[in-house]
């Protein structure tokens, strides 16, 4: 998930001389025949770069995504909820690791990828730059953010790059509970006291639009979509997925008795789809640039963990070297 919004930022780089027309055509033929590309296979440098960028952004998003939810582990209102949230946040770490691992098969090291995240050079999904200020935010993240993620990730299970597709299969299988637990939290709140209902509505009001932004800019402005589609890295367009998300989510909100924060939202009998209001793309670009409520805190938290952990990682490496020397002696 968490990557589509960011795939228009790549600059055009000079063509790689190894990308001869013959090789490119043969590669495209393999893609068109629905063959999977494996790590050591020849691939165009643009394909490799696009994958590295998309997959590392995806992995970073899983890791940064642990922070807003991790924020509520120690405050979860019941022991059952605490266990579920811990398991879920732990899954996010796991998914980050699966995807970093898959990215490493493209010949980059995780340390370098993480360094790019920590320096602010690499991007991650903007959704995690919004704060979690009430317990209902945890429900809403599960319901909307994971819901949007699943919608994004299911097509990625058929992505042309084997290791990414395989990682996505595992991620999707494991994440199937994430959205359900979120909706369950919302159900409980909406059946609860007036204050709980207010909490739920407040969370929906804050998270609805950012969730829609997760699918990325409109197809009209997303430059790289065409190439990614041809390479079968991306399989469904941003707008198509966004529409699908709105169509399935609106009835779920109605069931909860919550009101969508969109005056223009209306069901179009003719098309069978919901029409919804204009997304505030200015907010999207601002948050992407670093001007969101939590951008600084998120990066500071990861940097601080990394810096404070340096002596630990060094110690483990030093011990391993000592052991190897002892074994050799």
């Amino acid at each position: 998930m968490y990557t589509q919004g960011l795939d228009q930022k790549q600059k055009k780089s000079a063509a790689d001389p190894a990308d001869t027309p013959g090789r490119l055509a043969a590669f495209q033929a393999r893609i068109d025949a629905d063959e999977k590309i494996e790590p050591k296979d020849w691939m165009p440098s643009g394909y490799r770069k696009t994958l590295i960028r998309q997959m590392s952004q995806h992995a970073h998003s899983e890791i940064v995504g642990m922070l807003p939810e991790g924020n509520w582990i120690t405050r979860a209102p019941t022991l059952r909820r605490k266990a579920i949230l811990l398991a879920k946040v732990q899954d996010e770490a796991g998914h980050g690791l699966y995807i970093y691992g898959a990215t490493e098969t493209l010949g980059v090291s995780r340390d370098n990828l993480v360094a790019d995240l920590l320096s602010g050079k690499a991007k991650y999904s903007s959704i995690f730059n919004y704060p979690t200020i009430s317990w209902a935010d945890i429900g809403t993240i599960g319901w909307l953010v994971d819901g949007a993620a699943i919608m994004n990730q299911i097509p990625l299970c058929r992505c042309s790059y084997g290791p990414y597709a395989r990682a996505m299969v595992r991620v999707c299988k494991e994440e199937s509970f994430h959205q359900r637990q979120g909706y369950e939290i919302m159900l409980e709140l909406c059946r609860g006291t007036d204050e709980q209902k207010r909490m739920a509505q407040g969370a929906l009001d804050r998270w609805w639009w950012p969730s829609l932004m997760m699918f990325g800019p409109s197809d009209k402005t997303s430059e790289h979509s065409a190439q990614s589609m041809a390479w079968k890295i991306k399989r469904i367009s941003n707008d198509e997925l966004r529409q699908k998300f709105v169509d399935v989510t609106v009835p779920q909100a109605e069931y909860l008795g919550l009101k969508m924060p969109d005056e223009d939202l209306v069901f179009d009998q003719k098309t069978g789809h919901y029409r919804f209001g204009e997304i505030d793309w200015e907010e999207f670009w601002e948050v992407l640039k670093g001007n969101g409520k939590c951008n600084r805190e998120r990066l500071e938290a990861r940097n601080s963990a990394h810096d404070k952990g340096r002596w630990v990682r060094e110690a483990a490496s030093a011990y391993a070297e000592k052991q190897a020397a002892r074994d050799a002696a």
Binding site: E38, W42, Y98, D111, R313, A316, S317
Partner: protein, 95 residues
Amino acid sequence: MSKTDWPLYEVFIRARSGLSHRHFGSIHAADETMALDHARDLYTRRNEGVSIWVVKSTEIVASDPADSDSLFEPAADKIYRHPTFYKIPDDVENI
């Protein structure tokens, strides 16, 4: 490798006894014990395994895709290695 770069290990897991170990993915660890712990924590959160192998990724010797034609294509036309190549009348039993 910088001082804090932990090497990469490939992880193989036996889902249950009777099955062979299957490649699951990779993890980073400073030493072998840590590699087993990390593989356990990452890949068996949902009862996926009863046994784990880890091996340093650099220890794996892999065939080169460029050699695929010469390595694997020659087997393709040896159809007489497959039982369906042989025509035996239907009324001959137990063969």
